[in-house]
Amino acid sequence: MNRIVEKEMLNKNVVKLVIEAPRIASKRMAGHFVIIKIDEKGERIPLTIADADPETGTITLIIQRVGVTSHKLSLMEAGDMLEDVVGPLGHATEVEKLGTVLCAGGGVGIAPLLPIARSFKEAGNRVITVLAARNRELLILEEEIRACSDEVIIMTDDGSYGRQGLVTHGMEEILEREKVHLAVAIGPAIMMKFAALTTAKYNVKTIASLNTIMVDGTGMCGACRVSVGGKTKFVCVDGPEFDAHLVDYDEMIMRLGGYDKQEREAYDRYVAAGNGA
């Protein structure tokens, strides 16, 4: 059992939970994720660790409401318990001093990007971050990202904040302007696909952190499999980070939709049972 010690809605759809998990907090590094399960009847879902404090023994998770489980999570409050939290899982980000690192985060992908940007900054890199969101209201963690970036470009679809345009527009501007040694792209699969296409034009090595469906998170089920460079890889034990230029994003998007029908039905049942949409 893990206690929620703090809860904050970052916007109407995104919740931040700070959770007691001392062992995980002391072991986790940038790039790691956990698997959580709310209660006896809950499902196991993977969530990247956005932040951790070994002193207080807590980890921070940031969740976007998309289905039943994320909706239930958004309704939990400080003091509530999560039945199961296990981790830290996956390989940590390989952080070293490279020069200039271009970080690109889209939507709730900004949460897993934060610890990675921070680690590259702490390793002595120049960190330039491009954040993208549909509109100003949906942009998260701007302040935290600014604190570990030398420069931040903000892109919104509707131009309500920063500049109007896609994440790739902001990335392209930097890539045109200066030598970038490594790019990191995290966000919806479609965003990572185009971010990777963009950096490929400039021959900049790029890593993407993938968020696929998982059950156990330890290599056992294979639900998370993706094709990388033509080979099947398991995101949980081989990833979650891969060479962004080799990932088959179309297959990944297809697989992410593998339970759409069941999830929609479950959500309808959940709403019909009197839970707010």
Partner: protein, 495 residues
């Protein structure tokens, strides 16, 4: 060691109660009795629910079957048992009507008798070595059914005996993985006075007994009772703890653990790597079974989703393939098929599993091999191409090698495919311990006598060593490793 065991068995056999029982009935009368038939749930009814298929023997059936056992002077059955159960003794206790003591005899050497009585392949272990098979050409004494009977009787009686535990010796041992090998290690070490903690990655204790083997073959409550027994003996369990991630072996050492047993299992499913295998609707048997067994996905009250396919193809011919295809049937599949590249004869699944699957209406497409999968515009699998095979010369496994029949390719409509062609060892612990010597197949190399790995004080067993075997072989490894750990710790104390 072996001589001591022989001597012990002899002394046990000479006990007056045993002698008396042997005299109570003529051997001819015993051998004239026909082997008991396990009562089963009706196939049409059972294929619609998750009730246990085998119903268990009645008291009368068990008494009658126990009389068949001749209490041989040289009980060859025991040599076939990986955990060396004193088989004649427990069966004679049944014959005597002392079912509770029969259960105690089982528990002397077997941590999980109710589990083994259900899922052990007795037909290739104890029973194949039975005098009836070896010398009389008759059906073996139903040792497995009797084991289950005694264990179930004890559980249902509410008089569950907790094996005696020696005084604490102060040594802490960490067992990694709560599957059959880990539970066997824990069961022995706790009896010998060790302080044992079992670390489990998942949220439930039991490993493959919980996530893999379905309810209709091994109900979870049965597993829980055996685990509860270990808990009452003093074994500690930590769930949601991945050794190698949550904490490494070095950290656990600094927390006082002196010896380690790695029983992390074969948790990495194999795929065939054929075109289209990553389409949606295609799962590993591990994923499919875990969703249903561990996560209760077929129950709407639980949040985990599962495909309840209509035309389901299961690839493979092992017990896991049978478990998957029979699960698909229970989830409502109109057509549930086994696609296996050899013939029925080479099938690695237990005969009983194949029989049950056939009775439940599973179709067997033997001598067929998948070549490619196809999908609709959403990427959902809808068709597969298979090729017919014939059997050629025997291969390294001794089974006849399947050879493709050119030009025999054809298509089958499917909406769900479950790949059950085996598993590879889980990589998490080995990758966290670079000093651990591994085989080319990713299994941990061990000393076969002690089960100690290349790292002193670190032992291993079960599928992480074997690469995919049975519950009972894993338990046998566990018992061997427990002795290895005991010797290791004692030798260390002397220094």
């Amino acid at each position: 060691m072996a001589e001591q065991v022989q001597e012990y068995l002899k002394v046990e056999r000479q006990q007056p109660w045993r002698e008396e029982l042997r005299k109570a009935m003529k051997a001819k009368e015993r051998t004239d009795i026909t082997r008991v038939k396990m009562p089963e749930e009706d196939p049409h009814f059972r294929a619609t629910n998750s009730n246990e298929v085998n119903l268990g023997l009645t008291k009368e059936m068990a008494l009658q079957e126990a009389r068949r056992c001749l209490d041989c002077a040289n009980p060859t059955c025991i040599t076939g048992c990986p955990v060396n159960i004193n088989i004649p003794k427990f069966i004679k206790r049944i014959e005597q009507g002392d079912f509770l003591d029969a259960a105690r005899v089982l528990k002397d050497t077997n941590t999980l008798p109710a589990v083994c009585g259900r899922v052990c392949p007795q037909e290739v272990q104890c029973e194949v070595n039975c005098f009836y098979v070896q010398k009389l050409g008759k059906e073996a004494v139903a040792i497995g059914h009797l084991e289950r009977f005694a264990a179930d009787y004890e559980r249902d009686s509410g008089n569950i005996s907790v094996p005696e535990v020696a005084e604490k010796n102060g040594a802490k041992v960490a067992v990694i993985g709560s599957g059959p090998s880990g539970l066997a290690v824990a069961g022995d070490l706790i009896k010998w006075g060790y302080d044992v903690t079992v670390f489990e990655a998942l949220h439930e204790i039991g490993g493959v007994l919980k996530y893999g083997i379905p309810e209709f073959r091994l109900p979870n409550v049965i597993v829980d009772v055996e685990i509860d027994n270990l808990r009452r003996m003093g074994v500690k369990f930590e769930t949601n703890f991945i050794v190698g991630k949550t904490a490494g072996i070095e950290e656990l050492k600094s927390e006082g653990f002196e010896a380690f047993f790695i029983g992390s299992g074969a948790g990495l499913p194999n795929f065939m790597n054929i075109p289209g295998e990553n389409y949606t609707g295609i799962f590993s048997s591990n994923e499919y079974l875990t969703r249903v067994n561990l996560m209760n996905a077929s129950n709407d009250e639980y949040d985990t989703p599962v495909y309840s396919g209509n035309h389901v193809a299961v690839i493979g011919g092992g017990n896991t393939a049978m478990d998957s295809v029979r699960t698909a049937k229970r989830l409502g599949a109109e057509k549930a098929m086994i696609i296996y590249r050899r013939s029925l004869e080479e099938m690695p699944a237990r005969v009983e599993e194949v029989k049950h699957a056939m009775e439940e209406g599973v179709e067997f497409l033997n001598l067929n091999n998948p070549l490619e999968y196809y999908a609709d515009e959403r990427g959902q699998v809808n068709r597969m191409k298979v090729q017919k095979m014939e059997l050629g010369e025997p291969d390294s496994s001794g089974r006849r090698r399947p050879v493709p029949l050119e030009g025999s390719e054809y298509f089958i409509d499917v909406d769900t495919v479950i790949v059950a062609i085996g598993v590879s060892p889980n990589p998490i612990i080995p990758s966290s311990m670079p000093e651990l010597e591994m085989s080319d197949w990713g299994t941990i190399k061990v000393n076969k006598e002690t089960m100690e790995s290349s790292v002193p004080g670190v032992f291993a067993g079960g599928d992480i060593v074997r690469g995919g075997a049975t519950v009972i072989l894993a338990m046998g490894d566990g018992r061997k490793a427990a002795r290895g750990i005991d010797e290791y710790v004692k030798a260390r104390k002397k220094k």
